[in-house]
Amino acid sequence: MIDIGYDAAHLLGALVLMTSFALLYQRRLFSLLNVFTVQALALSGAAAWQAYAHDEPHLYITALLTLTLKAIAIPVALHRIIQRLHIERTVEPALGIGLTMVAGVSLVTLSILLVLPVTENATALTREDLALSLSVVLLGLLMMISRRNAVSQVVGFMSIENGLILAAVGVAGMPLVVEMSIAFSVMVAFIIFGIFLFQIRERFETLDMRKIESFRGESD
């Protein structure tokens, strides 16, 4: 019969994946950040549910960390940065949205095909969580290569990390989860600023490039 614990975990994991697709689909930076917030919320929900359903209290910490860092602190900071730096609010995809989505679905298929035969003996939840999190990681990578904008690359990177946390949450009995997630989050914070500085420096060049492109009649 219906196993609510399983079904809810299942849906929350799928929600994380869906928001990954929604991230790929967005064209505006602010809605990108909003979707990212939703992804972080779903992830912390998944962690909390797992903590409750399997009685693993340390996962509550993961949930809380995700909630405060990913769902509140980072989106707010990015909002500020976008406003402060007057970054253009539309994301220009290097690859068409349609193609990106097709590539995304192919990646999900690939990760399912990879995970299913390997985890023939594992429980349904584990294999599903592994498939989902591998997909989220791959989609995050896709996001990073298919966008030119620095902010969306940062968001892509953080969604990769969300995928890793999802994997750690789903596989039962992983005590290092808390440490891992903290370490990752700190690293992410560093990388955000690292990439940012890098991108801002690069932006001078891209501004130049844009002039050339508009000269060739290729810009919108």
């Binding site: 689909y25 349609g98 989505m101 399912i112 299913l116 599903e128």
Partner: protein, 314 residues
Amino acid sequence: MIAAVIHQVLHMVLVLALAPLLTGWIRLVKSRLVGRRGASVLQPYRDLARLLRKEVVLADNASWLFRSVPYVMFTAIWLAAGLVPVFTTDLALAPTGDLIALIALLGTARFFLALAGMDTGTSFGGIGSSREMMIAALAEPAMLMVVFSVAVLVRTTSLAEIAVYMMGGTVGLRVSLALALIALVMVAIAENARIPIDNPATHLELTMVHEAMVLEYSGRHLALIEGAAMLKLLLYAAVIACVFAPWGMATPTQGSLWIGLLSFLAKLATAGAALALFETSIAKMRVFRVGEFLGGALLLSLLGAIFLYVSRGV
């Protein structure tokens, strides 16, 4: 058998009678949401009656096809609506066609309406037809993939049997079903020319799709086409209700017709209100973003079909 035939006749009359009411209800809720009083829920009936009384003005170039399409289209959609169980699954026509036949019947209606749009030889008709076919080219496969997900879970494409199975409650919450539901709602929005794909209230040529196609219609022909559009909206609401929320429906062995009817009315009211809320809170898309929107629906439904195999069971 006799009961099934009686149910079928009742069913056909009921969907016909309720379709304008649903449209009127959506318009009323939308008006209230934006702070207007709005017309009565019965206004669509009056509009249709007025159109039926008016004379038909035909373009001088219109052929017999143009004059017969409203009838063909209305019949196809009415018949399709006759295949979707709403208050009971015990319908005489149920084995005649399944979900795939239903999609194809809607396709027939669309095919002929798009032809009619091109018959008068004006540019608006062409705009409408070409855009409608582009939308359909993505919406129809998305809908078929939804059918795939559902059918693989339930092991049948017959709507009546899907409803019975879903009421059994052994399916549970499933990622595939959730994805299928989202995709189906997206398709329904596109197919019924609602915001953000098309605006049913617009008269601005460049953004029109459905309205552009039927621009040359008038009088009783227009009444039939408008009626068919209302029927189609009801049909999609009924399909979503039948597959994803069939509770309350009577089956040949159990359940009461009255409860089925009341629950159907409640489902319609909810669906209408939700649609109105959605439409008032979102802006219309550019026509060429529609491809991405529906491509998204197609990929979501495909993803749903793929995820069938990840979870337990199948």
